[in-house]
Point group: C2
Chain length 434, copies 2
């Protein structure tokens, strides 16, 4: 019997991040200053990001070296295995082969640690002592809290009030790593106080928390800001996922017909897909399909216009060209909290506009059905976010059964669902909305 897990030795942890920018079919529209509408230069971001990350953000170099210290900490959980989902294939009675890359094996339970470690390292090189960030349900916040601790930085997390109160477990995880966590809106920033003056009972929002974290970083010399998705450099750091997966698929003797990632801001999809897309953009794999699976309740790629918009709700970031539902779009409270973002990463949006990738949108109940089927076949309970990718993979595997095609499908299991048991209960009890 061939192996269930395709593993790589630590020496196969990638030495470089893959930057897709030089391989794009057309150049990216630049980010614009919200006042002048002129393209902004790197210096515009310097108050909140370290220069090393800003240079990665605008780099046209295809390969960007990963520092040894970061690679050494990646050894705690990388290379992550690729699994062949045999029991799921059997359950679906499909001729397709289903593989999944397992980013849920990181200590914090998701792919977010990949970029958190690199961001913390770069800040440390430039003398930064403390990072500020926002978090909704807490996946990104706990990744940055862990990364800061492992790199010896302090970490300040503005956590959306409603999650702070109703989802204590991620908050405690951040605290265990030594981070400071405050419910947002808070009284410690002007942005927070302004909101609280209008509505003392404000439940908060990701947009408000971003404003608070940026204000914190901009106002202190020892502090910078960190973002967990959307930006070019964040997607860049996640490409270690796809690079490892390419080697692993080669070991399995298969090349995927379809690669799938769930889509919120775009980083886990990009992380898996971009290294494969390089082959497509070079013309070597013209038939490769790369699919971003998003929630029907927050359909930035499938329903959003591609236009210049703000990255945050308050409208303080540069304008970015992206598929967006409007920066004031408030997604309904679906359980896949990590996918509740109004826009899509500019790089992902650009590739969609160029026809290089596809997008699909799914309802939450059908997604949870697939999540439960997966757990009952493969043992691992997936994050509701990742379950969007699972659902897409299952649909394509069933299509392959109908057509009799031996498709090779690879998806990204970006996180586990251990913190999401309440959502599973709602689904199992028939109390989940569409």
């Amino acid at each position: 019997m061939t192996d269930t897990k395709i593993t790589l030795p630590e020496s196969d942890i990638p030495t470089h991040f893959y930057n897709i920018a030089p391989d794009l079919p057309t150049p990216m529209p630049p980010p614009l200053h919200p006042g002048t509408k002129e393209p902004i230069g790197p210096e515009a971001l310097a108050p909140i990001f370290p220069m090393g990350l800003i240079l990665q953000e605008v780099s046209q170099e295809r390969w960007i070296e990963i520092p040894d210290e970061v690679r050494n900490i990646y050894r705690l959980y990388r290379p992550s295995p690729v699994f062949r989902a045999r029991a799921l294939e059997e359950f679906l009675d499909t001729p397709a082969k289903i593989y999944y890359k397992s980013e849920h094996v990181s200590p914090v339970g998701s792919h977010k640690l990949n970029t958190a470690l690199m961001q913390a390292w770069m800040n440390k090189q430039e003398g930064v002592k403390r990072l500020a960030t926002e978090t909704g349900a807490g996946q990104w916040g706990s990744a940055l809290a862990c990364a800061c601790r492992l790199m010896g930085l302090e970490c300040m997390v503005y956590m959306v009030r409603v999650s702070y109160d109703s989802k204590p477990y991620r908050r405690i995880m951040m605290k265990t790593y030594g981070a400071e966590i405050i419910a947002s809106p808070s009284t410690t920033t002007r942005a927070g106080r302004t909101i609280l003056a209008k509505d003392p009972q404000s439940p908060g929002s990701l947009g408000i928390a971003i404003s608070e974290a940026i204000e914190d970083a901009a106002g202190r010399d020892d502090t910078k800001y960190a973002l967990g998705s959307v930006l070019n450099h964040v997607l860049l750091h996640q490409t270690i996922i796809g690079q490892e997966a390419k080697k692993q698929m080669e070991l399995a003797g298969d090349y995927p017909d379809i690669v799938i990632g769930c889509h919120g801001g775009g980083s886990n999809f990009a992380g898996l897909a971009f290294p494969f897309l390089r082959d497509k953009l070079k013309g070597e794999r013209p038939a490769l399909r790369a699919i971003a699976a998003e929630p029907a309740s927050c359909p930035s790629l499938t329903k959003g216009a591609r236009e210049y918009d703000f990255g945050d709700t308050a409208g303080t970031t540069p304008l970015m060209m992206m598929h967006t539902l409007g920066h004031d779009f408030i997604p309904p409270p679906v359980h896949a909290g990590g996918l509740r973002y109004h826009g899509s990463a500019p790089l992902v949006s650009h590739l969609l506009a160029a026809g290089a990738i596809e997008a699909e949108a799914y309802q939450q109940r059908e997604v949870f059905k697939s999540a439960v089927d997966f757990a009952r076949c493969e043992g691992t309970i997936p994050a509701p976010e990742s379950a969007h990718a699972i659902h897409s993979a299952i649909r394509h595997a069933l299509a392959a059964r109908a057509s009799g095609e031996k498709k090779i499908i690879l998806f990204n299991l970006s996180g586990h669902g251990i913190f999401d048991m309440a959502a599973y209960e709602a689904y199992l009890d028939g109390k989940m909305g569409a």
Copy 2:
């Protein structure tokens, strides 16, 4: 730089369980019938266990083959890595090398799945359709629920009422795997109804839940009972942990001076230690120290007498010779719920009496301090149970610093602490009792 993780290919998943019985320095005292006080034969257990497991329980064969179907499912998470805890060593400034076997990587987050899969398989061979068990905090129940699903059996879990109400996440996990869960005491068994008649608000206990599960199994032709620790065959199944670890330590070029497991019923300690103890019992490694680390609040090994006692609170099991605090001992509600058992496995008790192993007992607050130190160095948040092994390892590493000895320490990280965030919060907020 040498690797952080020492991994093995799937072909190195053990082919046999290691049975320590034939290597014991003196024979084990037999289990006795509670009425006649005569040694019981295998047939006495037949109403609740399948004959295949009963034969393993009493076997004197050193190596017992693992069925292919079980080995194939082990591939989902085995061989589990051994980590070198470099960051922890540095933090402790110790010349000792600290290694840990990582059983927390299983889909259910602990070593319990190792025996759950083997037990489910054996029952399936004998035509059993359904397994009944008890669970306290839920670690064992979720492992058996997962194993039953993967093997195609039904699963019925009697969950202690107070955990059922206050710890919903493990309950939902079991439900996600398709198990039926009922709060114990329940009205579906005579044992449960008797308790409820006296005390309708009974919070339940592990002892009551065991009685309900045994009654369920004994009363239905399609159902058997499954236990997650204590018995010989359960410890036997866990020896795949130590067998893998021996190969991994060989690859690392080290042989441990000290192996450590936390101790509740004894199965994770035995799983890691027994394959190493074989070398000691053969006289090849006379200096090897095997340490069982238990909570000071439930000190069966360090304070309990070794005598014949019941395995359950109600006194319905055969009498077993073991270190025990008395079958009516009610441990205080410490956070390491998996270690709250009045007795110790007969095999572990026998080895302690023979001087082949040692035991240590620790207070919960010092254990949590070590758990947090570990999480902040290594990233992974450990289960409170496993943190007893971590604390012991840290103490021995600090002793090595004091004496300047380059000790080799190996402990078992039997589970992760993601379900135990409330306990971490109590510790971090200074609200945890000693």
